[in-house]
Symmetry: C2
DNA sequence: CGTGTCTTTGAGGCAACTCAACACTCGTGG
DNA sequence: CCACGAGTGTTGAGTTGCCTCAAAGACACG
């Protein structure tokens, strides 16, 4: 499933200026005024990543950081015996490289074909010195990531399988809404294996949980990757979790 | 177990200047030079917190932030039905209030009698503007917390009970060593209930896991709260996790 | 129309949870 | 001094539910 050979296929698309970017208002660059974007754009390297390709591997030296502009990434770590824990799914606007260590502390792979803006770490740091708001924005994104990780701890540690899946759907729905998309037909770009490795379950249990929610009339599955939320309130009750 | 009545018993201890503080080199204040400490000290309010007292509750308005100087705190959130997930144990030098929202997003309680430095949020923010390194230090601590939370996701999602307990011991041992204490007789200040709520287990399973590790000769329990690590390598193998 | 991937469903076993009892420590008070 | 009770931890027995193993269905692609 995961390949590691040459992660990047770079290209420059002159038509696609930062100022007209889809995630202009959600990514790090939201911290900059329009007229400041050039500085960012000049060190930016557009990157296309095919589905299931590895962008960066855990332990690799951390030379570049990225903003996801389209598609989806999964961040994970793996145990020696192959068990995998996905710690986050990145959506457009999200940032990769929040850590400040010399190496990446997680592997990042594309869930579907994705586009990214890559920035050399050294130049990015120089830029942040000149534009403190860029730094601030990044710190804010780190705090958001921390909150999400702690929510995830609750989900992993204390929720039953059906509850996990219910809360997963609600979180995805909320995040889609934040990105200006419809909240209800939730599109699950990832496979059941990904969901299982994110929720600490097996694929069979994930599948059975979807079935349970469907039978109870809380969701409708037009196909395995399109989930219509029929009863949000009941779903939230099953999730047993506060909606943000 | 948790009480919420008047969390703070304040006192000023003039003999105990910041400059001579136990956690001078580990807490936020490590970012300041000795001669800059006055600024911090002038807005500081020493706080003593008895075991099992609540310092801040989830949802409460976030008026103060804290540095733990001695003792231990647990951070947790609770589901409506009483299930609890502890997301972190804070050790001396750790910071409470990394989030930037208007309210605390987790409850913090003392595991044992603890001492803290409290800082009004508004004054702390003003101080950070004047001392950017303070801000930087806080951001660094946020990134460390994020990494710990993601490690915890792996532990919660993919490790078996014995593996969870083994890795818990190793993490505590490593953190004790960071704080200049002995790595081997690990002192577990928290109860089995706390450990269970941190690792996503029941107290019985935690207890049985300790017994298994003991029977296998990996640890020695002089009492329930003193764990001697007899075979660190084997324990790491059981934990199945990289040692940082 | 085969082939491979992904998903769903079924059957059975095992491990973690539930329930219960007991050991131990530490105060308190008779 | 000992009895008592509360709180905490350990151990045992039984059950439930998730995981394992297996098979079949759904779908895309060549």
């Amino acid at each position: 499933m995961e390949r590691t050979h040459e992660p990047d296929r770079r290209y420059r698309d002159p038509c696609r200026a930062c100022i007209a970017c889809d995630v202009r208002r959600q990514a790090v660059c939201a911290a900059l005024e329009d007229h400041e974007l050039d500085a960012l754009q000049s060190i930016m390297l557009a990157t296309r990543l095919e589905a299931n390709r590895t962008l960066v591997s855990k332990g690799e030296s951390r030379r570049k950081v990225f903003t996801l502009t389209s598609g989806m990434l999964r961040l994970y770590t793996m145990l020696p015996d192959g068990r995998r824990q996905i710690t986050a799914f990145l959506l457009p606007g999200d940032y990769l490289g929040l850590g400040d260590e010399a190496t990446y502390d997680e592997t990042a792979e594309a869930v579907v074909d994705s586009n990214l803006c890559g920035f050399p770490v050294a130049e990015m740091e120089r830029l942040m010195e000149r534009h403190p708001r860029l730094q601030q924005r990044l710190n804010q994104m780190t705090r958001i990531a921390l909150r999400q990780a702690r929510d995830s701890q609750m989900i992993l540690g204390r929720l039953a399988p059906v509850e996990k899946v219910a809360s997963f759907l609600l979180v995805l729905s909320a995040r889609a809404a934040e990105h200006g998309q419809a909240a209800s037909p939730v599109h699950l770009a990832m496979t059941r294996t990904d969901i299982a490795d994110y929720l600490g379950l097996t694929i069979e249990t994930v599948s059975r949980s979807f079935t349970k929610l469907r039978v109870q009339g809380l969701i409708r599955l037009s196909d395995a990757h399109q989930v219509e939320i029929l009863d949000r309130r009941a779903l939230a009750a099953v999730a047993g979790i506060e909606l943000r």
